[in-house]
């Protein structure tokens, strides 16, 4: 079933329930215009909504973590995943990771670090700081697909925790935003209700995916 496709399920009680699979919104950070173009395409082809920015500083601005005035209307910003290059001028991917993990609004958002250099201490440092994964560049479609599955699994976990005592196995959409596979370079944000991630440890999700 493709992301965004509407699935109708008949419930024994006689009613109809429409569910949609969630579309992930990914923030991609990279100072290389070539890499931004490629990562954007990799994500869009994997049915994600993408926002690309060219630096860690711009990423913090976008997330409203730079202490600027924009913070108030960004409180409903929904970002499901942040993918960032490690080596960037100014704020490195590692610095960005730290700032995200220090924030209350986005600390639960998974952060994936990309790097062209396979340096073990660097990888360990990032994972220790809370990075979800460390991808070696050049990034391939298989990498993105794998990351997406991981994130969707975590998101489904969260949805299940939030759903109101529904014993049937339904994928409920906790994000009521309409899905539009658009991508834009640091443009304005759509207001969507945010849902705080809560890690529920004991859910078996194999039935959902």
């Amino acid at each position: 079933m493709a992301v965004g496709e509407v699935m109708r399920m008949e419930i024994p009680a006689g009613g109809d329930l429409t569910v949609t699979t969630p579309e992930l919104h990914v923030l991609a950070v990279d100072d290389s215009i070539v890499d931004r173009k490629v990562i954007e395409r990799l994500l869009r082809i994997s049915s994600c909504k993408v926002t690309t920015v060219e630096s860690g500083t711009r990423a913090l601005q976008y997330l409203g973590l730079d202490g600027g005035k924009g913070a108030s209307n960004l409180k409903d910003l929904k970002v499901n995943l942040i993918v960032t290059d490690y080596s960037m001028p100014g704020l490195t991917g590692y610095d960005l990771l730290k700032k995200i993990k220090e924030s209350s609004a986005f600390r639960e958002v998974p952060v994936v670090i990309m790097s062209s250099e396979n340096i073990l201490p660097r990888i360990e440092e990032c994972l220790k700081e809370g990075a979800e994964e460390f991808l070696l560049k050049p990034v391939k479609l298989a990498d993105v697909k794998r990351i997406k599955q991981l994130i969707l699994k975590n998101e489904a976990e969260e949805c299940k925790t939030l759903s109101h005592s529904n014993k049937r196995k339904l994928q409920e959409d906790c994000d009521t935003s309409s899905s539009s596979s658009s991508s834009h370079d640091d443009s304005s944000v759509k207001d969507t209700p945010s849902s705080k991630r809560m890690k529920s440890e004991s859910e078996n999700l194999s039935s959902l995916f």
Partner: protein, 157 residues
């Protein structure tokens, strides 16, 4: 028309394979092709265009950093540009350019001026050679489409 299409497709296939065999392109270029479809038919060309623009910019930065007339050479500055070029060449599958960047980086780290200048010249030649080759390849694609055919998937292995 069919005979023409077949001939063009054969030419395209042979040409593409030769680019891989001669080391101009690697696996990552194949990965980029996977991301192209009817909805985004020019994706590869668009990325490569950005890459070549990047080459011009970065090589110009390197030349400026290696200019002794403005004072002592800052090899770390040269190295930074080389690192960026290495990254983008890697992302598009520009195998020879990437390999040159690896040597170039070593010369920067060794603060070897002559080595750096040599690499700069080579990298300039190499990206231009790739650009010409790819333009020929894209032209073949265009000819196939204009003749009413489809661009074949080329199996490199």
């Amino acid at each position: 028309m069919d005979a023409l299409i077949s001939q063009l497709q054969r030419q395209f296939r042979d040409y593409t394979i030769s680019l891989y065999q001669q080391g101009f392109l690697d696996d990552q270029f194949t990965e980029l092709k996977k991301l192209q479809d009817d909805g985004s038919p020019d994706f590869v060309a668009e990325v490569l265009t950005l890459f070549f623009e990047d080459c011009v910019k970065l090589i110009s930065n390197m030349a400026r950093s290696l200019d002794k007339t403005t004072g002592a050479v800052d090899f770390s500055q040269v190295g930074a540009s080389v690192h960026q070029l290495k990254g983008s060449s890697s992302s598009v599958g520009a195998k020879r350019v990437k390999a040159l960047c690896v040597s170039f980086k070593e010369y920067c780290e060794a603060k070897n001026y002559e080595g750096c200048v040599r690499c700069l010249q080579q990298v300039d030649i190499e990206y231009k050679a790739l650009k010409t080759k790819l333009q020929d390849m894209f032209n073949l694609e265009k000819q196939i489409i204009q003749a009413g055919g489809r661009v074949p998937q080329v199996d490199i292995n």
